[in-house]
Amino acid sequence: MKLRPLFRSAAFTLLVIGVAFTIIFPLYVVTKNAFVEEKEISGRLAWPWSPIPQTFTTDWVYYLLSESDLVSSLTLTIFSTLLSVGISLLLATPAAWALVRVGGKTNTGFRATGFILTFAVMSRMFPSITVGIPLAVILIRLMLHDTVLGLAIGFTLFSLPYSLIVMKSQFDTIPPELEEAAMVDGYSRFSAFIRVTLPAAAPGMATAAIFSFLFAWGELTLPLLITSANRPLSVMIWRYLRGATMAQGSAIAFIQLIPVLIFTYILQRFLKPEYLAGAFKY
């Protein structure tokens, strides 16, 4: 009789290992390929494939980082991504707060909340390729084509609705009493929001930031359409994979991987589910 739970926990462990493997394995292969010699990727050492690197070289990474157009594309990607994360949070946070709070506790909230949220979800139904061309036209007219800001605006267009929905759910879990307590304790509504509500909303903001970051960082279609001379990293990888070797492609993928890991690592400490626990009693 005891076999059954044992079997279940074993199955669950296997499943977790399987999922982790599926995620980590490609990342590992890319990282490995970025640091081994050509012969191990496509030469005589390529088969039989070994998970342990047999050779080591930093040539590929070094070569890419010495290429000026690649460095400028890395800078462009970092700045436009961070800018879009910033704009997205800066707009979505107050907007979501208003959707949840305006109208007061006793009313049913802002009347148009449902409509605005539906609209936000709907805007995510359009693939970037359908939005890219008109957006490119608009950006050219605004003289923002091929600029950091233009790219950031393009990314924000897609991450903003998502951030709005995440932040709305976050504010839904924070009782208005928290802000009211701070107001009774002497803060204005605005400082109560900044000093008390925002720290409590940190998990939601971190989630929205990570998703906005990942979208902007990895998006290919939109930058293809709205940039021409200054290309972000995603476009560069796509180009390299057509013309360059597997090793070069892996090296550039590795370079693209590092900032994502750093960014996610910094924000993950806010993603604690028990972050808000104990503040309220229901």
Binding site: T106, A182, D185, G186, G278, F280, K281
Partner: protein
């Protein structure tokens, strides 16, 4: 400390009337309770005093200041919320120090005041914990600590005990009462629990449908409830009500309750004729004001035979349910009485404890 005055407060949420012509004068140093069922507008009144809601009309005074236009933070009030609303990212110390920090007090002064509050509430050892590491009772103390530390003019408490378990609630009830007396605080306490209101308050305002039905000391609320609603809301079990009609026989006045008629004092009959909308009235009597016994009392004592429907022993007392016509009348009696379901007992009403309400307005007549 200061007194609080509300003058003709009206507040509507859409078409829902939350406060209608609310007038209150809470005295300096008074423990005042707003009592009523959920949705009666008592919390709205409290939030209007706090400045978290704006009344549609009316004036709020704290001390001599008209505070209508002041934001909550400028009113020198402290509030304890039902869900405590502790700041989740701060330690207990920082939670209590928060209002002082906002007021930009000097650091040493903050420390000494917070320590005073921690000591007062006996939670010194918790000062470095986060709210999530506290039990419900401890969270409640921190919330009270955050309120007392700033020595406000008025304390506003919104059902502060309703989230505690029954035993802790009884303990905190007396503790809070003593605490606020010791610091000579003006307290406005919102609750739906009539026991809390009765035990803690110096005066009670009973609210219903946004209106104040009665403001009085607990003793008066209990013994002279102004309406049938209050009589039925206060006391456990609450007052018994029976429908009756005023009748007269041989120049004596009676209330005909169906199965039997009760003789009432002549004064009561005069009042009914003067004030009541009709001869139909509601007769009310509290369970402890009915005497039951097994032997028939002497003839000159007015008593009625009733059948026992059910007996509920409560340990310290015995709750006997009697069949009176279609109704059940609850009687509190001595636990030593031996009585069983279906038995017949002789029932007597304490004449000085009967209440008569108008059947239409439900207001107290006698």
């Amino acid at each position: 400390m200061a007194d609080v005055q509300l003058i003709n407060i009206n507040k509507k949420f859409g078409s829902v009337v939350a406060n209608e012509n609310v007038n209150l004068h809470i005295k300096d140093g008074e423990f005042f309770t707003l009592l009523g069922p959920s949705g009666c507008g008592k919390t709205t009144t409290l939030r209007i005093i706090a400045g978290l809601e704006t009344p549609n009309t009316g004036e709020v005074y704290i001390g001599d200041r008209l505070v209508n236009e002041l934001p909550p933070g400028k009113r020198n009030i402290a509030m304890v919320f039902q869900n405590y609303a502790l700041y989740p990212h701060m330690t207990v110390f920082d939670n209590i120090a928060f209002p002082l920090k906002v007021a930009k007090l000097h650091k040493t002064e903050i420390t000494s005041k917070v320590n005073w509050a921690l000591d007062l509430l006996r939670i010194e050892e918790l000062e470095n914990r986060k709210p999530r590491q506290l039990s419900g009772g401890q969270q409640q103390r921190v919330a009270v600590g955050r309120a007392v530390v700033r020595q406000p003019d008025v304390f506003l408490l919104d059902e502060p005990l309703s989230n505690l378990d029954a035993l802790l609630r009884i303990r905190m009830r007396s503790e809070l009462k003593r605490l606020f007396r010791d610091i000579k605080a003006t307290v406005i306490y919102v609750t739906h629990d009539q026991v809390e209101a009765m035990t803690m308050a110096k005066r009670i305002a009973v609210m219903r449908f946004g209106k104040i039905e009665q403001i009085a000391i607990p003793h008066e609320i209990y013994h002279r409830p102004r309406t049938r609603f209050i009589a039925g809301f206060i006391g456990s079990p609450p007052m018994n009500f029976l429908e009756g009609t005023l009748t007269e026989k041989n120049e004596k006045s009676y209330i005909d309750l169906g199965p039997f008629s009760i003789k009432i004092p002549p004064k009561a009959a005069i009042l009914i004729k003067e004030k009541a909308t009709s001869s139909k009235v509601i007769f009310g009597i509290r369970p402890e004001d009915i005497v039951i016994q097994k032997e028939r009392p002497p003839r000159q004592v007015e008593s009625f035979a009733c059948e026992v429907y059910v007996v509920e022993p409560l340990g310290s007392e015995l709750l006997v349910n009697l069949n009176v016509g279609e109704d059940i009348v609850k009687v509190k009696t001595d636990p030593s009485m031996v009585v069983d379901m279906g038995e017949k007992v002789w029932t007597r009403f304490k004449k000085d404890k009967i209440h008569i309400f108008d059947s239409e307005t439900e207001e107290l007549i006698f």
